[in-house]
């Protein structure tokens, strides 16, 4: 069965999106992409530090990947808009992940500024992927202003704590007509599978893969988990019940009673 993922004007086969931060070596990225099957990667933009020569991450990203530059570092809508425009002008395509954060402890997104940035950028023809705290009214507003998807967090960024916002994400999946991509906090493949079984359209992970003892094997595990969760969602799990229900026939025993 062909299950294509139509998103942001593209047609993808994988529902796993990967971040590129925190890798011990960026040389590892092509292997990570291949092992996971992921076709979308996020990147960030920063001022150069002339005391510390770095390489350009784009040199390590396979040419067939869709780039999703993020606006990390932005503290308000205006800064996010500026970063998004620069990334597009620099040749990154028209996808952008809006990330507006002014809270340094939990790195929770500023939903209000995120809506404002989404509205401006969607009107400029960007495919806007807003990272947000799961809230139904905010998600409805994001739909109204033209987001391509809604990306609620599962737990704080980089925490590897899993799908702590499960109930709120479930409501978004049920009520919002856009793809719901769980972004941030997912620490294990089982948690990614759980979100996919609930009907999430995709999962975005970074820290969980980058900080695993073996990131390449973990990337593969996430690819498989997302696929398994998606297949389970499409298959439609059977109902849960309180008491046992025999799986083998209860008649025709070798005794009379």
């Amino acid at each position: 069965m062909q299950d294509l993922f139509h998103i942001g004007g593209k047609e993808l086969t994988s529902r796993l999106l990967l971040g590129t931060g925190k890798y011990a070596s960026n040389q590892m990225i092509p292997q990570i992409m291949e092992a996971s099957g992921s076709q979308v990667v996020t990147v960030a933009m920063r001022r150069v530090d002339t005391d510390f020569e770095e390489e350009n991450i784009l040199n390590h990203i396979p040419g067939n990947c869709v780039l999703m530059p993020n606006t990390s570092g932005a503290r308000n809508a205006q800064e996010a808009i500026r970063i998004a425009r620069l990334a597009r002008a620099a040749g990154c395509g028209d996808w952008v992940k809006i990330e507006v954060i002014s809270d340094n402890r939990y790195l929770l997104p500023d939903n209000y500024e995120t809506i404002k940035a989404t509205e401006v950028l969607a009107a400029e023809g960007f495919q806007v992927f807003p990272y947000m705290s799961p809230d139904l009214m905010v998600a409805k507003e994001l739909v109204k202003v033209g987001a391509a998807a809604v990306m609620p967090l599962g737990a704080p960024i980089g925490s590897n704590r899993g799908l702590k916002t499960k109930e709120l994400v479930r409501i978004l999946i049920e009520e919002i007509p856009l793809p719901i991509i769980v972004d941030a906090g997912i620490g294990r493949p089982s948690e990614a599978a759980e979100a996919m079984e609930m009907g999430a359209a995709a999962i975005l992970v970074n820290t969980a893969v980058a900080t695993a003892r073996d990131p390449v094997i973990m990337a593969r595990a996430f690819g498989m988990a997302v696929e398994a969760g998606r297949a389970a969602f499409l298959a439609g799990p059977g109902a849960a019940r309180q008491y046992a229900s025999a799986s083998s026939p209860l008649t025709g025993f070798l005794r009379e009673d």
């Binding site: 931060g21 990147v43 960030a44 001022r47």
Partner: protein, 66 residues
């Protein structure tokens, strides 16, 4: 002349171009993005874009991120 380089005030020779500044700062042109007074400047223009007093230049690059 004084210019703002990534938010910090620095002194640059009069008439220095974007390309010249990158070279002086030992930044490889193929790895960076340049914004001059809030406008992106394409690579092809770097060697014939001179900087002026009080210009604000931002030199950015793509890095790993989630």
């Amino acid at each position: 002349m004084k210019i703002l380089f990534n938010g910090k005030e620095i002194l640059a020779e009069d008439g220095m171009t974007i390309a010249g500044l990158l070279e002086q700062r030992q930044l490889k042109p193929e790895t960076v993005i340049v914004e001059l007074n809030f406008q992106l400047v394409k690579k092809e223009k770097w060697s014939d874009t001179p900087l002026k007093e009080n210009d604000s230049i931002e030199v950015l690059r793509f890095v790993g991120g989630g």
